[in-house]
């Protein structure tokens, strides 16, 4: 019986933060946003905050975290720009079901203007896809054009979330570190290797990155206890259901009005 149940369930890897998503997931992103806002308070000069999202190895959910974190940041009435900094294998375009070209590479190389590459998802959130492939992505990202572009964007947006390639595979991310205010390392529960994470953190520290912390993606509690997230204390299922009900009631009331 349990085998059938297991086979009927699949894991969703790519998703956008919508109201159809489970309550726990939305709350997890909200909690992540809160942690980041506490770690990086708004600047006195009014400039936006540039966040770099990276990982040790590929396929850990960096883009999922970047995209949904941007959506969650936009919910706080902040103007958010999501940049696909993974110039070799950018996936942001897939989430928004659009073409990756033109994008960041085209803008830096002067083949497209900033206005051309900036796409609007809604009034609060815009995104820049990776664009065309570049033979020298590191050199492109560390160029003065990129620096100028980011400082310009910081004036226009409250948050700039840059999705970057894995640290241990590619050095591209190191080129962007000086232009960002904080770095978030994404790792996948039961998949990412602890030694790889340690190496990544060492590399980032060496590059003088402001490591804000780690986001554990794809967390599945092992103990099938009553609490949804076992002994870690994240959102007991009963409490989650209670708050979910209350949220649904509020939604219904808003619709009636």
């Amino acid at each position: 019986m349990s085998i059938f149940k297991k086979n009927q369930i699949s894991v969703k890897r790519e998703y956008l933060l919508t109201k159809n998503l489970p309550f726990e997931v939305r709350e997890a992103f909200r909690s992540l946003k809160a942690s980041l806002c506490v770690s990086l308070p708004k600047k006195e000069n009014g400039e936006g905050i540039a966040l770099l999202v990276t990982s040790a190895s590929p396929e850990v959910g960096k883009t999922t975290v970047s995209v949904n974190l941007s959506l969650m940041l936009a919910e706080s009435n902040a103007k958010v720009l999501l940049i696909d900094g993974d110039t070799r294998k950018g996936r942001v375009a897939r989430y928004f079901e659009t073409n990756a070209k033109p994008g960041l590479v085209d803008c830096i190389s002067g083949q497209a203007t900033l206005e051309e590459v900036t796409r609007v998802y809604n009034e609060k959130i815009s995104y820049i896809t990776c664009g065309s492939h570049s033979p020298r992505p590191y050199e492109l990202l560390e160029s003065s054009v990129t620096k100028k572009l980011l400082s310009e964007l910081k004036k226009q947006y409250d948050y700039i979330v840059i999705d970057t390639p894995p640290v241990l595979l590619l050095s591209d991310v190191l080129a962007l570190i000086p232009e960002t205010d904080g770095t978030v390392v994404v790792c996948r529960h039961r998949s990412s290797h602890v030694n790889d994470i340690a190496k990544t953190l060492n590399t980032l520290r060496f590059a003088k990155a402001n490591i804000l912390g780690v986001v554990v993606n794809d967390y599945t509690p092992l103990e099938k206890s009553k609490k949804a997230y076992g002994g870690y204390g994240y959102y007991a299922r009963e409490s989650a259901e209670y708050y979910q009900e209350s949220e649904m009631e509020q939604e219904a009331a808003t619709t009636e009005e």
């Binding site: 086979n7 009927q8 369930i9 699949s10 894991v11 969703k12 998703y15 998503l21 489970p22 726990e24 997931v25 997890a28 992103f29 909690s31 992540l32 942690s35 980041l36 770690s39 959910g61 999922t64 975290v65 978030v184 390392v185 790792c187 996948r188 529960h189 039961r190 998949s191 990412s192 290797h193 602890v194 030694n195 994470i197 340690a198 953190l201 060492n202 520290r205 060496f206 490591i211 804000l212 912390g213 780690v214 986001v215 554990v216 993606n217 794809d218 967390y219 599945t220 092992l222 949804a228 997230y229 870690y232 994240y234």
Partner: protein, 304 residues
């Protein structure tokens, strides 16, 4: 020089327990397999292993001639402090092949040495068949001696630390015949018992050292109900249980060690709170897995 971030391999008891608990089913299965294997080993080890025999007790004491014994008037042994060395030397004599030969003498008619001499004589005479027959008898006889030595064991008890008049000395003979066949085992044990009853008192009387002032040694059989019986009833079950417990526990222990070693060699991120604590970075967020029903496979009907 900045301090390198690394993960220390710390082992906590609660973590070990959690690891074992997660693999409880595997451990129970391995333990059960170990128990079954142990039980089977125990059964195989004791299969058709039956010991038949009994224990015979002899009371040994020196005695004086009629005139002299009336002076002491003691019914007890008088070896006193000499009891232990005397009994020890007597038991050694009883355990010797010489006495085993004596026990089996009536069965074969002649001792092994004599047969060997006969073989040499027959070879000299050129009687090959006779020599072969004699050699077979020798081999058989040697086997009989070995059987008697294995099947009989001797021990003693003596009150060496009490007053001479009250000191008592005993010699115990244990007969234990190993046989898979009940009738054969019982029969051999009975033959041995009969011979022990006859030969042991005579041998002790003849060979026991007599203390000064004593003329002879008395040896009386005390046990009257010395029936031959199965000595190890239910041994198969007890051995099987013992082996099942031992092997079950050993396999459980080995499986536990294997589970822990495998778990600790897996360096994937699991207990992230502890790991990040060791790495010195905070956990900003934990995004749960989103599971959803798998899309139904399109059937031919639906396609049509």
């Amino acid at each position: 020089m900045e301090e390198q971030i690394g993960v220390r391999d710390e082992i906590s008891l609660s973590e070990l327990f959690k690891i074992l608990w997660r693999k409880a089913l595997v451990l129970i299965l391995v333990c059960m397999i170990g128990c079954v294997a142990g039980g089977a080993l125990g059964v195989l080890k004791t299969w058709n292993v039956h010991y038949y025999g009994t224990k015979v007790e002899f009371y040994v004491n020196p005695s004086k001639s009629e005139d002299a014994s009336s002076e002491t008037g003691s019914q007890y042994g008088v070896y006193g402090t000499y009891g232990k060395p005397l009994m020890e030397s007597m038991v050694k004599l009883l355990e010797s092949e010489d006495f085993a030969e004596k026990l089996m003498l009536d069965e074969n008619g002649m001792p092994a040495k004599k047969i060997s001499t006969e073989i040499d004589a027959l070879i000299d005479e050129g009687d090959a068949n006779g020599a072969l027959e004699a050699w077979r008898k020798t081999e058989h006889y040697k086997k009989m001696i070995a059987f008697v030595c294995d099947a009989t064991s001797y021990s003693y008890a003596t009150d060496s630390n009490v007053e001479e008049e009250l000191a008592k000395s005993f010699i115990f003979v244990e007969i234990s015949v190993l046989s898979g066949d009940k009738e054969k085992g019982m029969g051999n044990a009975q033959i041995l018992l009969d011979r022990v009853k006859t030969h042991v008192p005579a041998y002790i009387k003849k060979n026991m050292v007599k203390p000064d002032g004593y003329d002879e040694t008395n040896c009386q059989r005390i046990t009257r109900l010395d029936e031959v019986k199965l000595l190890n009833p239910g041994e198969m079950l007890s051995t099987a249980i013992k082996y099942a417990i031992l092997l079950g526990a050993a396999s459980f222990l080995a499986a536990s060690v294997a589970v822990i070693v495998v778990d600790y060699s897996d360096k994937r991120l699991r207990n992230f709170e502890r790991t990040m604590d060791q790495l010195g970075v905070p956990v900003l967020g934990v995004i749960p897995t989103i599971t959803e029903p798998a899309p139904k496979a399109q059937t031919d009907k639906e396609v049509a």
